[in-house]
Amino acid sequence: MLNTSDILETIRMIQDECLDIRTITMGISLLDCCSEDMDALCTRVYDKITRKAEKLVAAGQQIETEYGIPIINKRISITPAAMLVGATRGGDPVKLAYALQRAAEATGVNFIGGYSALVHKGFSAGDEALIRSIPQALAETSNLCSSVNVGSTKAGINMDAVRLMGEIVRESAELTADNQCFGPAKIVVFCNAPEDNPFMAGAFHGPGEPDCEVHVGVSGPGVVRAAIEKYPDATIDELANVIKRTAFKITRMGQLVGTRASQMLGVPFGIVDLSLAPTPAVGDSVAHILEGMGLSVCGMHGTTAALALLNDAVKKGGVMASSSVGGLSGAFIPVSEDAGMIDAANAGVLSLEKLEAMTAVCSVGLDMIVIPGDTPASTISAIIADEAAIGMVNSKTTAVRVIPAIGKKEGEQLDFGGLFGTGPVMPVRRESAEKFIARGGRIPAPMQSLKN
């Protein structure tokens, strides 16, 4: 018989500490749907997605019942749409966005990601048209997510794309101003984007991936926090061990669910993304883990060190628990999706600058940050450039998902609801980066790129 304390621990993790599988994401290659004709492309894309993902939601629900573990989202990631658009002889890319939205509705998934372009070294056919269509595509669909990779350690940073993305993020906010400026919450601007990420809004199915596979993204900040609280007097290295043990258990669950989903759906198992993904729910906050380590408020001095420890221990614990680790893998720090981060930002302790420093040691970047509505596009581009530089130099993924709150200023907030949470408008520096951004061109790849 199983050990009763082990059984109780698992049940407590799920019932009281918000342990869940955040997402089962099916990655689908659409390269075989290419057509010169946009309408034919849309039909093929819709057909392939609905065929491959027909049973995805039902399989997720069955696994939920069998194992008693909540699976919050079922999602689809696709080949970056710009590659498909590039193969057409023209036509409005928004048509493809509609087809993807219809496919999401037909399969019943929560999100479909991959309205994306990879332009870290430059634009190829289809890239610019797709990027320029993002604001309209996101305003007129509800389940579609978009991402653009503007830099990499190998290629440097495409500053023309950085400039363009500042404008796109702003335009997207303006087009959705009557809907809490929700558009930019579905746009991620990456440096070193992973090709197998199951988390939205940045999920896409990279060209190096197989035809179809399933990934799993685990969650569990509440479990880590509860584990830490049991050791109020532990030294930091002891704390790291506690986190590693906890991350191991969380990840094993992810591995089990991924393997089972792969069997049920008859497609290969991709990766487990070992992430600590917070939600606005009480007890599911990454900020509260850092506070549990002994910081009075997340964002004060010491936060970067605490986050570095957390991120490293999560990876070390998780990597042995899974046959294949990928995606973003680490701690997420999305401000509006984390109750502790929201409080810290409202208290004025957590600033954009501190968040930027934190992104140098955790898995993603400036995420779900609401900025004043009058922030110029060039300032948004400058925020993107800073973040991309951190990713490029440190050979890690970084990303920017900021939401300009049109018509609002500091002290006000946007309320997205659900997993996206509530974001207080955070102050941004008012000085101009206009001239720097207007230059365009490319930041050359750093010395770190010359590894061969």
């Binding site: 199983l2 082990d6 019942t65 069998e66 194992y67 008693g68 258990k249």
Partner: protein, 89 residues
Amino acid sequence: MKAVITVIGHDTVGILHKVSGICAEKNANVMEVTQSVLQDLFAMFMLVDIRGLSCDFSELSAALTDLGKELGLSIHVMHEDIFNSMHRI
């Protein structure tokens, strides 16, 4: 294929009888039972073989959850793989 049924809550007469009654009804063979009552708190763990189940797993799960609600107990039924994978290497 085995599942673990856990029952936790205030002790009353006939909990084991009612839970095992549902197992019998759905043709889930009870293999092991561990039960303790500590200061009025009833805790039971039951390992059942679900290979010969006469219904869907979800139906068994729903029947036990409903019984839990009726008796004011917390009843879960989960596939044993989740415990094995989390706690054993």
